[in-house]
């Protein structure tokens, strides 16, 4: 076993070179390079954390803005609806008023027309009676040769017409 057989002749060399090379590694690589590598990692981790925080903040701001927009839009919608309702009510009122006016005018014209119709009918009836009584007087004069008094003929015709 060379580890033991050669120990007395090699231990000094082993220890010396071990210290030399491990010292080199420790001071050059461990102390010199590893902190820089770790710093790079730390910088990256910090950048990632910062970016995440910025993204989170941006998300929060967006949420806030959306909330504000929602509130504003709700308010505006409410106002618009109130406006529409008011306009509708006003329009309905105006329509009602105009309808009432037009109705009254129509009613008046209807009444006038009915009155005119009633007048015309009464005139027509009277004329029919007159014509009928004259016709009746003529017919009686021709058939019976009797001259009938116009007033009597009229009374007789009225009785016949009105039952």
């Amino acid at each position: 076993m060379p580890q033991i057989a050669q120990l007395s002749e090699t231990y000094a060399s082993q220890i010396f070179w071990m210290l030399v090379f491990f010292g080199l590694i420790f001071f050059v690589i461990g102390k010199g390079m590893v902190p820089k590598v770790m710093e790079t990692v730390a910088v990256r981790d910090k950048q990632i954390a910062d970016d995440l925080a910025a993204a989170e903040a941006a998300r929060k701001a967006a949420d806030d803005q959306e909330e504000a927009w929602r509130v504003a839009s709700n308010n505006q919608r409410g106002e618009a609806q109130a406006l529409i309702a008011k306009a509708k009510a006003e329009a309905a009122k105006a329509t009602e008023g105009r309808l009432a006016g037009v109705n009254a005018a129509i009613d008046q014209r209807l009444a006038e027309a009915e009155q005119r119709i009633a007048g015309a009918r009464a005139g027509a009836l009277e004329e029919i009676e007159t014509v009928a009584s004259e016709a009746a007087g003529d017919i009686v004069a021709r058939l019976a040769g009797v001259t009938v008094d116009a007033a009597a003929a009229r009374v007789a015709v009225k009785e016949a017409l009105n039952g």
Binding site: M1, P2, Q3, Q6, L7, E9, T10, Y11, A12, S13, Q14, I15, F16, W17, M18, L19, V20, F21, F22, L24, I25, F26, V28, I29, G30, K31, M33, V34, P35, K36, V37, M38, T40, V41, V43, R44, Q47
Partner: protein
């Protein structure tokens, strides 16, 4: 090396001076640049290239940068989970430890023999793992006494110790505490050595049985070869697990020193 025709599974762990540096010494201690030191150097270079490739510092990482960052994050999470916020300052040490062992283990497993290079796994030497273990242990001691002073000794009296056991528990705790560097060093060294010996023994079965003829090649060589494939996969797993265990235990010990119960 054993005599020709036989495979010595331990030969792969032999340390040899390289490039004629046998005579190098400091204060009387001979410190030749060995094959072990060479692979420490290779591990260092490969690890440097790996981390350097991940230093582009892009905001959106490429694959390589992602790989390096996942390793540092892995160590960071390990320390955060086991030590807490105070563990952040140990990231360079635990990262160096974990990656050094991981790369050493994996590089030692590479089939570089195909291109004529003999990989050497220096983590299969307790003289190498011991340095790392003692270093971790020393850091735990220094941090512990630095932060808590002599109060650090209360580590040996866990909460809820019955009064009548107060003479025994600290002794057991002290022993288990002092065993830590040995368990750290030996666990890694044994695991790596055992795996490499096993692979070497199995490969010698394959080669020797093939040389003995088609019958033995089929009966012994083929199953050994299939087993080798499975064990190679296992060894890759072990390479990662042992590096992880070393780093995990070190961070657990650091937790004792930092937070003391």
């Amino acid at each position: 090396m054993a005599e020709a025709g036989k495979v010595d599974p331990m030969h792969q762990f032999t340390i040899e001076p390289m490039f004629g540096t046998d005579h190098w010494e400091i204060a009387g201690y001979s410190i030749p640049f060995t094959n072990s030191a060479l692979w420490m150097a290779i591990t260092t270079v490969v690890l440097f290239l790996f981390v350097w490739g991940g230093m582009k510092r892009q905001l959106v990482p490429g694959r390589w940068q992602m790989a390096v960052e996942s390793m540092t994050s892995f160590v960071d999470n390990l320390l955060a989970a086991n030590v807490g916020p105070a563990g952040k300052k140990y990231v360079p040490y635990i990262f160096s430890l974990f990656m050094f062992i991981l790369f050493a283990n994996v590089l030692g497993l590479l089939p570089l023999m195909l291109v004529g290079v003999h990989p050497f796994t220096f983590t299969s030497h307790f003289s190498a793992t011991g340095v790392l273990a003692i270093m971790s242990f020393a850091i735990v001691l220094i941090v512990g006494f630095w932060r808590h002073g002599f109060h650090f000794f209360s580590l040996f009296v866990p909460h809820g110790t019955p009064l009548w056991l107060i003479w025994l528990i600290p002794v057991i705790e002290l022993v288990s505490f002092l065993v830590r560097p040995f368990s750290l060093a030996l666990r890694l060294f044994v695991a790596m050595m055992a795996g490499h010996v096993l692979l070497e023994v199995l490969s010698s079965f394959v080669i020797d049985s093939m040389n003995s003829g088609a019958l033995w090649g089929t009966v012994v060589g083929l199953p050994s070869f299939l087993l080798m494939i499975a064990i190679c996969a296992l060894e890759i797993l072990v390479a990662g697990i042992q590096a992880y265990v070393f780093a995990l235990l070190t961070s657990l010990y650091l937790n004792d020193a930092e937070n003391l119960h």
